[in-house]
Symmetry: C2
Subunit: 146 residues, 2 copies
DNA sequence: GGAATGTCCATGCAAGTGCAACTACTTAGC
DNA sequence: GCTAAGTAGTTGCACTTGCATGGACATTCC
């Protein structure tokens, strides 16, 4: 296999650094206000948008490890943001619904999260550069095997 | 503050997803061969390139948290890849040197790491797209305050 | 020179993560 | 129907991380 070109290495380091800085900033902003981390938002949003979901579907959508999602859901249920309802078609699994508080929490998180994203991305790039970036990243946002 | 535009949100999700997938793949590849994680490589390379370094300089270069670097260095010293030498100019700090094994480890890690990068980035993007990506990410790879 | 403030690095504790192994249910093959 | 293999989800254990704090030295200001 060929070694990476210099431009590839530069893109590599910047990709990791940019994503790390950006996600750190968001997480810190939410934490500073006593709000849950971004992963929680992603779960809440996925269920609000698409209706009750099974853990394995969330796992596929969000790209998290199976055990990580298991424990994440556990914490969110303990925090009363989600409820588990046994799945009639498959007794191994269950459906996750939002509670009232879960819905409220998503709504409360959004403005903070959105502002953090705007600070980190929107305010630092032209709109057309954002579009170009999204375009370039499209193939990389799919699992490697694909 | 303005809410993020749709293109901003798309860029956001893809940036995080792409970086996560890419770094996960690299870490997993190294781990599968019993090699240390990528952060270790970054430390080893920084010292090999620029000579002995103080923790605070590594911290700035690599963008890690202070306590994270402190413990990372600790693990690497225990693994005999680095040695601490008291700093004559500032008794609070010390200089980190590579050991023979440290040098050997960096050399052993590079082909694996490089191949993983090539798999994740080089093989999935045209060279000019890599260059464009690096260009677009340049502003985002700097701390938010800057 | 001495106090106040700042910088450098370490660490206790609580929480999160990775790996591997496990239970429980489902599906396929026969 | 029975076994074998696959899928859904959990969990024990060791390790890592985040936050807050602390100790040690350096610098500034008087």
């Amino acid at each position: 296999m060929a070694m990476p070109a210099a431009t590839t290495l530069l893109a590599w380091t910047r990709l990791l650094r940019a994503a790390d800085l950006a996600s750190q900033h968001c997480a810190a902003t939410l934490r500073a206000l006593g709000l849950p981390p971004p992963e929680w938002y992603d779960v809440l949003l996925a269920i609000e948008r698409r209706g009750a979901q099974r853990p394995r579907d969330l796992q596929a959508m969000l790209g998290t490890e199976q055990y990580a999602l298991s424990r994440l859901v556990d914490r969110m249920v303990k925090a009363r943001l989600l409820t588990r309802v046994p799945c009639t078609e498959d007794a191994r699994g269950y459906l996750l619904y939002l509670t009232i508080e879960g819905r409220a929490m998503r709504a409360a998180m959004w403005p903070i999260y959105a502002e953090a994203i705007e600070t980190v991305l929107g305010a630092r790039m032209e709109d057309e550069d954002c579009a170009a970036l999204a375009q370039l990243l499209a193939p990389l946002a799919e699992p490697v095997s694909a």
